[in-house]
């Protein structure tokens, strides 16, 4: 199977649509088992392990995050938050067809709302994708918030 640039771009669009529509079980299926979702705290942070990040979660933690959203006693999600991504056409930064490894870079605006509050985040998402058994999967995802060092209230869904 050959992966085209359009396949990669469609993948990124489909992923944010899953997040916006709350199709989290489908979203978790996109991930390879040893992947990490990383949201650095510091601008241009290089080390996810020995300084604090906003998020650095493996599949167990992502699954926990998703399960919790639907829990009967998840008080901060009563009522539930909603989110919305507006994305720019992804850049394809690396296209190694032989290795089945691809890297995209996508600028997005993310809006999250709950009750009377709504906030906007500008971010750049870097996806490392791999072709496994004929399907594109997420090997790693890095989300750099433009204002990652600012003080935030609750960010409850996934930018």
């Amino acid at each position: 199977m050959t992966i085209t640039r359009d396949d990669l771009i469609d993948f990124i669009y489909d992923e944010v649509r899953m997040l916006d529509e709350g199709r989290y079980d489908e979203w978790l299926e996109l991930w390879l088992p040893d992947g990490h979702y990383w949201m650095p705290l510091d601008w241009k942070q290089e080390d996810p392990l020995h300084v604090t990040s906003l998020l650095y979660e493996d599949l167990f933690m992502l699954k926990l995050r998703v399960e919790r959203l639907n829990g009967a006693r998840t008080f901060s999600q009563k009522p539930k938050s909603r989110c919305h991504h507006v994305i720019q056409r992804p850049f394809v930064d690396d296209m190694d067809e032989a290795a089945g490894r691809f890297v995209t870079n996508t600028n997005m605006h993310y809006v999250e709302t709950r009750l009377d509050d709504q906030f906007l985040l500008a971010l750049t998402a870097t996806h490392e994708l791999k072709l496994v058994d004929g399907k594109l999967r997420i090997a790693n995802k890095r989300v750099d918030l433009l204002n990652s060092d600012a003080a935030f209230g609750n960010i409850q869904l996934l930018p």
């Binding site: 949201m39 705290l41 510091d42 942070q45 392990l49 020995h50 300084v51 604090t52 990040s53 906003l54 998020l55 650095y56 493996d58 167990f60 933690m61 699954k63 926990l64 995050r65 399960e67 919790r68 829990g71 006693r73 998840t74 008080f75 901060s76 999600q77 060092d149 600012a150 003080a151 935030f152 209230g153 609750n154 960010i155 409850q156």
Partner: protein, 446 residues
């Protein structure tokens, strides 16, 4: 001027043995008085000296609502100065950290100051000749806070020129800071990266009280910790199976009431206290290879064991920080308004200890205390609901009476059942003491 200004009796009447009046959380006048009296007269955490390792390094923050600069002076001592040019009021530095070299230079009119605040130079100074500038505070330079104390790297300041000494204010409570620092084989901590910054639309004291509230984890955090335990079970593991670090961190939040009752709470004079006298949620973390050996090398086996056998959970240093000795975390609750608090959560590296310890600490910080944390979300939800709920008329008092006793004496150290709210009462006892310490009565003020 409202009900409470210059009225120490009215302020003291907000705290009863078993309950406190809602105005301590919601009244803007009380907030202003806290800044003027409580935060000026107490010893307040500023920063860690590893944030400014070299001469001229500075760090900007605030003590209460007062903007300050912590800076390493040319004599290597840490100075804490008000972040205000004595000329027109311009903040001298606004980046969070930096190096200013041998002097600060105001960007507005180029007045310059040594890093201890002393005036160095004013351009076109002849314009001030004969005007008496040298006799004014303006002519002396940037104002320093009343007193500064660097305790094993942790820098505290008292804004007031006169008042309680550092040693008397903290007393034996410093044993928690000692244990955190002793855990380094070099006896030294270093800050690891910038802090998490988490904005809370609630009063700062709700956060401080929550640090020793041992009856909320299994309720408020059931959605995160309880779900984690359930997923773990669904994967086919039992409680005795070795857990990955994330599970070691989050699962103990679901411990039963008995666990928290038996962990114990210790209170010290002046509003300090800690949970986890006998054990805590940090007790059962896996040993990191090489760490005990490194500690033993420094301290000998007996003392190394004694250091690691302390697993204090949360130590509150009144008024507004909490430390976790076993994981080298410090959280500062910065009051921005009656209903607005900035929480900054720092982590520290144990110098000469294996990096795996720091990795666990960093994981704890982001998992539990980030604005993106599935644990923090439910805490903040509770505080903000309380901040709104307190406006309900007809019930103006907030209850703090769990395991209350008549005639409690907060001037003595005590160890109690781990679910007591004695530490919250201890904080309010200290709150009245430092709010009213230098408050003149209306008659005296006139």
């Amino acid at each position: 001027m409202g009900r409470y200004t210059d009225n120490p009796q009215a302020v003291a009447a907000l705290v009863r043995g078993r309950e406190v009046h809602r105005d301590v959380y919601i009244d803007p006048e009380i907030y202003r008085l806290e800044m003027k009296h409580l935060f000026a007269n107490a010893w307040v955490f500023v920063g860690h000296d590893s944030q400014t390792p070299n001469k001229g390094d500075y760090f900007t923050t605030q003590i209460g609502d007062q903007p300050v600069i912590m800076v390493r002076h040319t004599d290597n001592e840490i100075k804490v100065l008000y972040n205000r040019c004595p000329h027109k009021g311009t903040k001298i530095a606004i980046d969070r950290t930096g190096n200013t070299g041998k002097f600060f230079r105001c960007p507005y009119h180029a007045w310059s100051f040594k890093t201890d605040g002393c005036l160095l130079a004013i351009p076109l100074k002849k314009g001030y000749e004969g005007t008496g500038l040298e006799d004014q505070q303006t002519g002396k330079g940037m104002k320093a806070v009343g007193a500064v104390h660097n305790y094993r790297g942790f820098v505290f300041a008292r804004l007031a020129e006169e008042g309680i000494s550092f040693d008397e204010f903290f007393g034996d409570s410093l044993s928690s800071l000692d244990n955190m620092v002793d855990r380094s084989p070099a006896g030294r901590l270093e800050v690891a990266g910038p802090p998490l910054r988490y904005m809370h639309q609630c009063n700062w004291k709700m956060l401080v009280e929550n640090q020793t509230d041992t009856c909320h984890p299994m309720v408020a955090h059931e959605s995160s910790a309880g779900t984690a335990v359930q997923i773990w079970k669904d994967l086919g593991y039992t409680e005795d199976d070795p857990k990955p670090p994330a599970m070691e961190i989050i699962a103990p939040f679901m411990s039963p009431y008995e666990f928290f009752e038996n962990m114990g709470i210790r209170t010290w004079p002046n509003g300090h206290g800690h949970t986890g006298v006998h054990h805590s949620i940090h007790s059962n973390y896996s040993a990191i290879p090489g760490y005990f050996e490194a500690l033993t090398e420094t301290y000998g086996e007996e003392k190394a064991k004694a250091i690691l056998s302390e697993n204090r959970h949360n130590t509150v240093y009144f008024p507004n920080i909490m430390i976790k000795g076993p994981i080298q975390q410090l959280r500062v609750f910065i009051p921005l308004a009656a209903d607005k608090t900035l929480v900054e959560s720092y982590i520290y590296r144990l110098v000469d200890a294996p990096d795996e310890l720091l990795a666990r600490t960093a994981m704890y910080n982001r998992m539990i205390n980030a604005p993106t944390s599935i644990v923090g979300h439910d805490d903040l939800e509770m505080y903000e609901r309380a901040q709104e709920g307190l406006h309900a008329d007809g019930m103006e008092w907030v209850n703090v009476q769990r395991l209350y006793e008549e005639d409690e004496n907060f001037d003595e150290e005590r160890v109690e059942n781990g679910t007591t709210e004695r530490q919250m009462r201890n904080q309010f006892h200290a709150w009245v003491k430092f709010m009213t310490a230098d408050m003149t009565t209306k008659e005296a003020a006139e």
